[in-house]
């Protein structure tokens, strides 16, 4: 019984060693976003709370928690409260299979990439339930938009993942990273890398694809009726999802914990720091895109997903597999 108790204790500590850094980096990411947007627009950004304003997001969280939580009288109470919880839960449980270095992962399962794909495809339930349970026009429209948008872009994400899997020959995330030791997949599969980053922007409802919460037409989209901490949970989940999808991009295309070149000063740095740096790079691209591009119109979004990305990724699956087959490079 003692060994079981110890195992549970170690497991819990391991889970906390992932969840706590993720939540802290969410706070820092919100701060970073405001600083980057400020720099792009020639402003200072937050600079009052704490040194360089770094405690701004913690102050925001305290403000959100202490506000009154409103429940619309005509809403479906259970689903209204459940939806933000589900969204945050899904963005955190996915970390169970993310390997941040060659040995440090909570659960090293055979089908890690499928698990991640499944969890990210459940994400749409939080949005659609929030929109429906609010029993109000704008949230409902936002929910319908997001359901269609997320399903459309999942298709191209799926094909991009298949292209990578053909090159690796395994569904295990550690195997995927280890097969990139000499050459990151971002180089031979550059078009797929670009498609993946754009699809991830759409999947996480970030600008320029943030149509579910399009404030110019839908007030605030699916979380119009939310206030206080239930809004805070959606906010937290959106940024946690950004970090998660950036880590997935790093694992699939940027060689995970491997340094760019296997030479002395670079390979002396521990893998977990390389992983963090690469995730930071992708997150910066997210913020950069937000500061640069205007929002897509809804039909343009659908056209990009179905008429451009779907054929492109399908053809790339065929090209990659034919190339590997012809030159005898297929794994196993």
């Amino acid at each position: 019984m003692d060994s079981l108790g110890l195992e549970i204790l170690i497991g819990t500590l391991k889970i906390f060693s992932f969840v706590v850094p993720v939540l802290v980096s969410v706070a820092l990411l919100v701060y970073l976003e405001r600083k980057v947007l400020g720099a792009v627009q020639l402003r200072k950004g937050p600079n009052v709370v704490g040194p360089f304003g770094i405690l701004q997001s913690f102050a925001d969280v305290i403000k959100l928690i202490t506000k009154e939580n409103l429940l619309p009288s005509s809403s479906n109470k259970f689903l209204f409260i459940f939806a933000p919880m589900l969204t945050l839960l899904l963005s955190l449980i996915a970390w169970a299979v993310i390997p941040v270095s060659s040995t440090y992962v909570i659960s090293n399962i055979n089908i890690g990439i499928l698990y991640l794909f499944a969890v990210s495809s459940f994400g749409v339930y939080g949005v659609i339930l929030a929109g429906w349970a609010s029993n109000s026009k704008y949230p409902f429209l936002g929910a319908l938009r997001s359901a269609a948008q997320m399903i459309s872009y999942e298709v191209s994400i799926g094909f991009v993942i298949i292209t990578v899997l053909i090159c690796v020959g395994s569904l295990n995330l550690i195997d995927i990273v280890e097969s990139q030791k000499n050459l990151w997949f971002a180089i031979p599969l550059l078009p797929m890398f670009v498609v993946f980053i754009i699809s991830v922007l759409a999947e996480t409802n970030r600008l320029p694809f943030d149509l579910p919460e399009d404030e110019a037409t839908l007030v605030a989209g699916f979380f119009t009726e939310y206030s206080s901490i239930s809004f805070g949970l959606f906010f937290l989940a959106e940024y946690a999802n950004m970090i998660l999808m950036s880590s997935l991009t790093v694992i699939l295309f940027l060689g995970g914990w491997y340094p760019p070149m296997d030479i002395f000063p670079l390979n002396a740095i521990p893998g977990i720091i390389w992983f963090g740096l690469k995730v930071f790079l992708i997150l910066f691209v997210f913020l950069w895109v937000r500061a640069t591009f205007p929002r897509y119109r809804y039909d343009q979004l659908m056209r990009l997903g179905w008429k451009i990305f779907l054929p492109l990724t399908l053809i790339w699956v065929v090209i990659t597999s034919s190339f590997l087959f012809y030159f005898g490079l297929l794994p196993n």
């Binding site: 055979n110 499928l114 499944a118 459940f122 659609i128 339930l129 319908l144 999942e154 056209r303």
Partner: protein
């Protein structure tokens, strides 16, 4: 013991959610219970070590099919009372179909188990590879045929719903990209007091 306990936990949840799918008065709740039923069957698959089948079930049914159900059901304006009146009409049909399915399950569990277990040759440790090997060698034709059937169903659905109306103004993106400013606007220098003659 732990495994058996978990099995009964998920199996009883599965039965309860299935019953709730049928007896929920609100169709949206029905779909949500259906999602829970799929989730519980995923857990059952993972419990017997078929993690690939389990996760694929979750991705396809929860991640895509059930969302589309929810999408449609949320937009329907269903009168709950009218649904409850009609339900008795379907009882004989329901009994017929469920007894056919029950007979199939009994036939499979009683007569087929021994034979099918002999057929499966374990080629590798990983059940993803195992399924891939079986699908693309022994059942290659059936697998491709089922793909063609699905493709035909999709094309059929599109053909049935797609109506081309020539009166609607459409956006032709190629045409838009091929036009230049000089095709659309012209710089004029009107003389004072004369203006521009629109007939030119």
């Amino acid at each position: 013991m732990f495994l058996l306990g978990t099995f009964y936990l998920f199996a009883s949840f599965l039965v309860m959610t299935c019953i709730s799918v049928i007896f929920s008065k609100n169709p949206v709740n029905s779909v949500l219970f259906l999602v829970l039923a799929f989730l519980n069957s995923t857990f059952l698959f993972i419990l017997i070590g078929a993690e690939f089948v389990g996760i694929i079930l979750a991705i396809v049914y929860i991640g895509a099919v059930a969302i589309l159900f929810l999408f449609v059901v949320m937009m329907l304006d269903i009168q709950i009372t009218s649904l409850m009146f009609n339900i008795k009409r379907y009882v004989p049909l329901a009994i017929l179909f469920s007894s056919i399915i029950l007979a199939e399950i009994i036939y499979l569990t009683v007569y087929k188990t021994a034979k099918s277990q002999k057929d499966i040759i374990v080629r590798s440790e990983n059940n993803t590879e195992q399924i891939g090997n079986v699908l693309y060698t022994d059942y290659f034709i059936d697998f491709q045929l089922s793909g063609i059937v699905l493709l035909l169903a999709m094309i059929g659905a599109i053909v049935l719903t797609h109506v081309y109306r020539p009166t609607i103004k459409r956006q032709n993106i190629n045409k838009q990209n091929m036009t230049f400013a000089k095709d659309r606007v012209e710089l004029m220098k009107p003389k004072s007091g004369e203006g521009i003659n629109s007939d030119d």
